[in-house]
C-alpha cells in the first residue's frame, strides 16, 4: 500500500488500484512506485481507476510506459472501470507523428580536428572581411558627415561625451592617482639605495605623461564604454530597433556608430589630460611626504625632465585609442543576432578586443616614436 497505488497479486494476476492525484509534480514518486512492482510471471494486469482523483498528461504518459512494459513481458492489460481518457489523448497525439529526437547529426567525422581547423579559418576570413567592410562604411559615413556638419549629430555626440567622459572622471582620477603613487613608491625604494631619489620625479613624470596616463584611461574606457556600446547597440539589434532605423531610411552608422566614436574621440584625450594632472599630483604628494622633496623642487624637476613632446606623445595617442575602442564596441554590438546569449558573448569580445588592440597600438606607437626619435 503506497500513496499512488495499491497492488494485489494473486497467482498470475496483478491487480493495481490507482489512487490519489497523479500529477506531473509527483512524477518521481509515481515512477518509483511503478518500477518497484514485480512483473515477473504476471499474465494478467488489471488496472482499477475508480479511486483515481486526477491523472494529468505527464503521469498518464508514465502509466502508458508502464503498460507498455507489462505488455512486453507478456501480460494482458485490462481496465476495471473506465480507461482514462488521457491515455486516449496520448495515443492520438503520439500516433500523429513518429517520435523524432532532434539530437546531434548522425554522421560524426573522424577527421574532426581538420574540419574544425578548416571551419575556423573560414570563419576568421569571413570575420576579417566583415570587419573591413565595417571600417569602410564607418569611414564613408564619416566623410559624408564631414561634408555636411548637420549630419554629425552634435547633440548625440554631446550625450556620448557626457556618458563616456564626464561620468568617468572620478574613476579615471582615482586610478591615475593610485598608479602614480605606486610608481613613485616602488622607484623610491630602489633609487634610495643609490641616493638618487630625485629621479623618482623623472620616472613619475615620463611614465605618467607618455604611457600610463593615456593607457590606463583607455583601458578603463574600454571596460566602461566599449562594453556599453556593444550592449546598447546589441540590445537594439535584438529589439529590431536597428532594422526600424534602416526601414525609416535613417542610417544607423550615422545615428549610432559615428556619434559614439566621435564622442569617445573627444572624451578620451580630455580624460587623459585629467589623468596626467592627477598623476603628477599623486607623485608630488608622495615625494613631499616620503622623500621630503618640497613642491617647488618637485615642479622644477618636472619641468626639467619634461621634453618638448613628452606631454603630446601621450595625448596624441588618445584619439587613436578612442577610435579603436569605439570601433570594437560598436562593431560587436551590431553583430548581435537572435539571442541574449549572443549579446553577452559579443559584449565580452568587444571588451577583450578593445583592450588588446589598445595595448597593441601602444606598442606600435612606442616603436614609431623611437624611430622618429621623440
Amino acid at each position: 500500500m503506497t500513496d499512488y497505488l495499491a497492488a494485489r497479486r494473486s497467482a498470475d494476476t496483478l491487480e493495481l488500484r490507482l489512487r490519489g492525484e497523479w500529477r506531473a509534480l509527483r512524477l518521481k514518486e509515481i515512477g518509483a512506485e511503478l518500477t518497484a512492482l514485480d512483473l515477473t510471471g504476471v499474465r494478467r494486469l488489471v488496472i482499477a481507476t475508480q479511486d483515481l482523483a486526477l491523472l494529468d498528461l505527464s503521469s498518464a504518459w508514465r502509466l502508458r510506459e508502464f503498460i507498455a512494459t507489462a505488455e512486453r513481458v507478456g501480460a494482458a492489460v485490462s481496465f476495471s472501470g473506465a480507461r482514462p481518457e488521457r491515455l486516449q489523448i496520448l495515443d492520438d497525439a503520439l500516433a500523429r507523428v513518429a517520435f523524432q529526437h532532434p539530437g546531434a547529426p548522425a554522421h560524426e567525422s573522424h577527421i574532426e580536428p581538420v574540419t574544425a581547423l578548416g571551419r575556423h579559418v573560414v570563419i576568421m576570413a569571413r570575420d576579417a572581411r566583415a570587419g573591413l567592410a565595417f571600417l569602410g562604411r564607418v569611414a564613408l559615413t564619416a566623410l559624408a558627415a564631414a561634408a555636411s556638419p548637420r549630419r554629425l549629430r552634435p547633440i548625440a555626440i554631446a550625450r556620448h561625451v557626457y556618458d563616456t567622459g564626464v561620468t568617468a572622471i572620478p574613476i579615471v582620477a582615482l586610478i591615475a592617482f593610485l598608479i602614480s603613487v605606486i610608481i613613485a613608491f616602488l622607484s623610491a625604494q630602489q633609487l634610495q639605495k643609490f641616493g638618487a631619489e630625485i629621479f623618482v620625479v623623472d620616472l613619475v613624470t615620463i611614465g605618467v605623461l607618455r604611457e600610463l596616463g593615456v593607457l590606463l584611461t583607455a583601458i578603463i574606457l574600454a571596460g566602461r564604454s566599449g562594453s556599453a556600446f556593444a550592449a546598447e547597440i546589441g540590445a537594439m539589434c535584438l529589439n529590431e530597433e536597428v532594422d526600424a532605423l534602416y526601414a525609416t531610411g535613417a542610417d544607423p552608422f550615422e545615428l549610432l556608430v559615428l556619434p559614439r566614436i566621435l564622442g569617445l574621440m573627444i572624451a578620451l584625450p580630455l580624460l587623459t589630460v585629467i589623468a596626467d594632472v592627477i598623476g603628477l599630483a599623486g607623485g608630488a604628494l608622495l615625494c613631499r611626504f616620503l622623500l621630503d622633496i618640497p613642491l617647488t623642487q618637485y615642479l622644477h624637476r618636472v619641468s626639467e625632465s619634461i621634453g618638448p613632446m613628452t606631454f603630446w606623445v601621450g595625448v596624441l595617442k588618445a584619439p587613436v585609442f578612442a577610435v579603436l575602442i569605439g570601433l570594437a564596441g560598436v562593431y560587436r554590438g551590431l553583430q548581435v543576432r537572435d539571442s541574449s546569449r549572443e549579446l553577452g558573448r559579443l559584449t565580452t569580445v568587444a571588451v577583450v578586443q578593445s583592450i588588446f588592440v589598445v595595448i597593441l597600438a601602444d606598442a606600435l606607437f612606442a616603436v614609431l616614436f623611437m624611430e622618429i626619435g621623440i
Binding site: R23, A24, L25, L27, K28, G31, D56, L57, S58, S59, W61, R62, E85, R86, I89, L90, A93, L94, R96, V97, F99, Q100, H101, P102, L238, R337, D338, S339, S340, R341, E342
Partner: protein, 258 residues
C-alpha cells in the same frame, strides 16, 4: 446554467496605482474551474497590469489574489513555488528563452520542478510540442527561427510543460493572421476540453472571445464587470456596448451571419 464550479482564481478588491495614476480601484474578479475567461478592456485600461498582479510580478497597493483559495501574499517561498508550478503562463511576445531551442524551452520548467531522467523529460517535452500542433522538427529550432504563430504555440507548449490546471494567456492571437488565429482558437478549445483546463486570457480579438470564452470580464472605470458571454454583450455600459456592438463587431456579425 450549469451548477457553480469551485472558484479557482479570485481577485479581491485590487488597487494598483502608479504615481498619481490609478489603474485599478477595488477590482474584483472570480474565475471558476474550467472557465475560459476573457479579460477585455481598452488599451491602457490595465489588463496586463492585472495579469502581472495575478502572476505575482507586481504587488498591488491593496487587495489580494487567491489561487486555489490560497492568498498568494501569505504564502512562504516554497509554497509560492508550488503554486507557480501549478499554473502556466504565456506572455504577449512569447518570451521564449532566446538562447535555448524550443525543446529546451519546453523542458525548462520540468528541469526546475521535476526530477526526471533526461530521456523521459525530452519525450514529455516532445509530447507537449506535438500537442500544440507544432511539427516535430521545430523542436531543435531556436525562437528566432520561428514564425509568429509558431512562437505562440511554442510558448503555449512551455506553459503546458507541468500539466497545469490553470493557464494564463496574454493576447494569444495578437499578431496572427485570421487563419492562424482561428487555428489557435481551435487548439485552445481542444486543449480546454481534453485537459479540462481553466484558461484566463487577455484578448482584443472578438473572434477569439466568441469562439472560446464562456465568461468575460471587462475592465471599465478601473473596475471589472464580469458576466457570462451571452449576458455581458447586453451590459449597458457605453464602452462595453461600443466594444461588442461597434463597427468591427458588426462586420463580424455580418460575416458570420452570411
Amino acid at each position: 446554467m450549469t451548477p457553480p464550479a469551485p472558484v479557482i482564481l479570485e481577485v479581491r478588491r485590487i488597487v494598483n496605482r502608479f504615481g498619481g495614476q490609478v489603474v485599478h480601484d477595488g477590482l474584483d474578479m472570480q474565475v471558476y474551474a474550467q472557465d475560459v475567461f476573457g479579460i477585455v478592456g481598452a488599451s491602457g485600461a490595465g489588463k496586463s497590469v492585472l495579469l502581472r498582479t495575478i502572476l505575482g510580478l507586481q504587488h498591488p497597493q491593496s487587495g489580494a489574489v487567491l489561487i486555489g483559495g490560497r492568498n498568494l501574499a501569505q504564502l512562504s517561498d516554497a509554497e509560492l513555488r508550488a503554486v507557480k508550478a501549478d499554473y502556466g503562463a504565456t506572455f504577449q511576445a512569447g518570451a521564449l528563452y532566446s538562447a535555448l531551442t524550443v525543446l529546451e524551452n519546453v523542458q525548462f520548467p520540468m528541469i526546475e520542478h521535476l526530477q526526471l531522467p533526461a530521456e523521459a523529460r525530452a519525450e514529455l517535452a516532445m509530447l507537449k510540442i506535438r500537442l500544440v500542433g507544432l511539427p516535430a522538427d521545430t523542436a531543435g529550432k531556436y525562437p528566432s527561427q520561428l514564425s509568429g504563430g509558431m512562437v505562440k504555440r511554442a510558448a503555449l507548449a512551455r506553459a503546458l510543460a507541468l500539466d497545469p490546471q490553470l493557464l494564463f494567456l496574454d493576447e494569444p492571437t495578437s499578431g496572427l493572421d485570421p487563419i492562424s488565429a482561428a487555428a489557435f482558437d481551435g487548439l485552445l478549445q481542444q486543449l480546454h476540453q481534453q485537459l479540462r483546463l481553466t484558461v484566463v486570457m487577455i484578448t482584443h480579438d472578438l473572434d477569439t472571445i466568441f469562439r472560446t470564452c464562456n465568461r468575460v470580464g471587462v475592465i471599465v472605470d478601473r473596475r471589472m464587470e464580469v458576466d457570462t458571454l451571452a449576458r455581458i454583450v447586453d451590459h449597458p455600459h457605453p464602452w462595453i456596448q461600443a466594444y461588442f456592438h461597434g463597427e468591427r463587431a458588426r462586420a463580424r456579425e455580418e460575416r458570420d451571419g452570411a
